[in-house]
């Protein structure tokens, strides 16, 4: 069984927000909720770097651990989904998530937040019919054999989605091709020792 993962190659991300738009469009996410966001560090400085963030579909997801209603659950392929019928809007997932993935449409007195929404890896969620599924969770592209639209539409292929092994292989290949001894992270003083770009195939 594949384990599905996102990976954003920070050296390729050009902060175009295409992934954000693609996600909004594919899933018809309700107003005020943005499942994917692009974070830019040191904007305008020579060291500027951007990365696209959404639910990372953690192996040991904190949101699942703290949810009091079992709204959140993990599929066998690692995708973390949510059941909107069970959500009571307590906000615990939002407190626990390291990536700010869970969002609520409202933020009113007496903890009235509405139903939580988050990235589904374009895998929909529990519903009786396809229409209901689309209306509640957005597209189920995984069921159609397609990958999440954000990654599919990424113009620089910075955002990768798919089986963790495949994604890791692609990224490893890039690191080797780039020839950075320190891999994706530049300026590592131990670059020679770590030599993340070590390519076994090139070494006689």
């Amino acid at each position: 069984m594949a384990t599905m993962k996102f990976m954003c190659d920070a050296e390729r991300c050009i902060e175009c927000n295409g992934c954000v738009t693609a996600c909004k469009n594919a899933n018809e996410v309700e107003w005020g909720v943005q499942r994917r966001r692009v974070v830019t560090l040191n904007d305008g400085e020579p060291s500027e770097v951007s990365i696209s963030v959404a639910c990372m579909h953690c192996d040991d997801a904190p949101c699942i651990a703290v949810c009091p209603t079992e709204t959140l659950y993990q599929r066998d392929d690692g995708i973390v989904l949510h059941d909107k019928d069970l959500c009571i809007g307590c906000g615990y997932c939002l407190y626990a998530c390291p990536f700010g993935a869970p969002q609520f449409p409202k933020q009113n007195a007496f903890g009235e937040r509405g139903k939580m929404d988050k990235c589904t890896f374009c895998a929909g969620g529990p519903a009786e019919t396809k229409e209901e599924e689309y209306q509640k969770y957005g597209a189920n592209r995984i069921a159609e054999g397609k990958l999440p639209l954000c990654a599919e539409m990424c113009s620089t292929k910075a955002l990768l989605a798919g089986d963790a092994q495949e994604v890791a292989d692609i990224f490893r290949q890039r690191v080797v091709q780039r020839g950075h001894k320190d891999g994706g992270w530049s300026g590592n003083p131990r670059a020679d020792a770590d030599s993340l770009a070590y390519d076994a195939t090139q070494q006689g």
């Binding site: 920070a10 966001r37 009571i88 007195a109």
Partner: protein, 353 residues
Amino acid sequence: MSMSMMHAGAARRLLTLLVLLAGLVLSQLALAQQADPGREAAFAVPAVDAELWRQVKEGETGPNYRDSRAESTYNLVNTSGETWRQIRERWVSPFGAIAVLGMMAAIVLFYLMVGRKHLDEPRTGRKLLRWSLVVRSLHWTVATLFILLAITGLNLAYGKTLLRPLFGDGAWSAMMSGTKLIHNYLGPLFGILLVILLLRLLSHNIPKAHDLQWFAKGGGLVGKGHPDAGFANGGEKVWYWLLATAGLAVIASGFVLDFPNYGQARDTMQWAGIIHAVGALGLTAVALGHIYIGTVGTEGSLEGMTTGYVDESWAKEHHNLWYDEVKDQAIPEDQLAEHRQASQGDEPAPRSG
């Protein structure tokens, strides 16, 4: 001829030089293109290093941090979320369960070993007013709310483990929605009423020197006879001050959690959640003791909070210092009943509570 030879030699040398130069330029160009079309442009981003990664994890964001999500208050990575989860799941939940279940077990054990505390002397039939109607109404409202909040709170903390297997999806969903509604809407009411009750009872609960004696004697469990006690004994004062400290902390943190519309930061919510859970679970455990002592545990206590009056013997034994103050106000039981009938429940607002 020699001139032409010389010319031809110079021309050849010049040509060689040109070819060499052209070769050099071409090779430089080829080097610039890195010769390998599959090779990615290796542009180094000098500052993206371990130090930056540390800053990201610490949540240190400079002025040039950007997030494309509107009104986002998130960092790139919020490690406090995982810390909160670990504190909650590893410490608060299990030890809270141990506290509440442990208290239940201790009470059952105490009841089986020591049993109900009966009055030493027979009832005199003369009654003393202990709790006014206002205090009794407040007490039972607060008590009802406390029990509702404790049950719903425990359900939010442990329902997933204990009750989820018993419910189908539909019933579970409705039950949890109801739980959250009760907890969030009755919580503030409980908070306000508890503060009023605490203010009303403050004068009875000022710590006194004889309270130390009360504790030394374990509230009467150690040695013979009852230790001195005023209107409130040492144990009651502890319960009062627990509510006035931990209780207020639970109420304050509850308000923080219940009103996200003021835009509290996530870290504030995490702290409020921990304080709320620790305080509430602790108070639930102690409340079980309060409920036991007030009902099954001690003969003659419950009637004080239901009818407002206690028997003279009870007052003499449990609150001797208070009894000395008010013994001349004792009313015979039948006179009290007559008075009640006459006024049809329209009691004169008693002042002693």
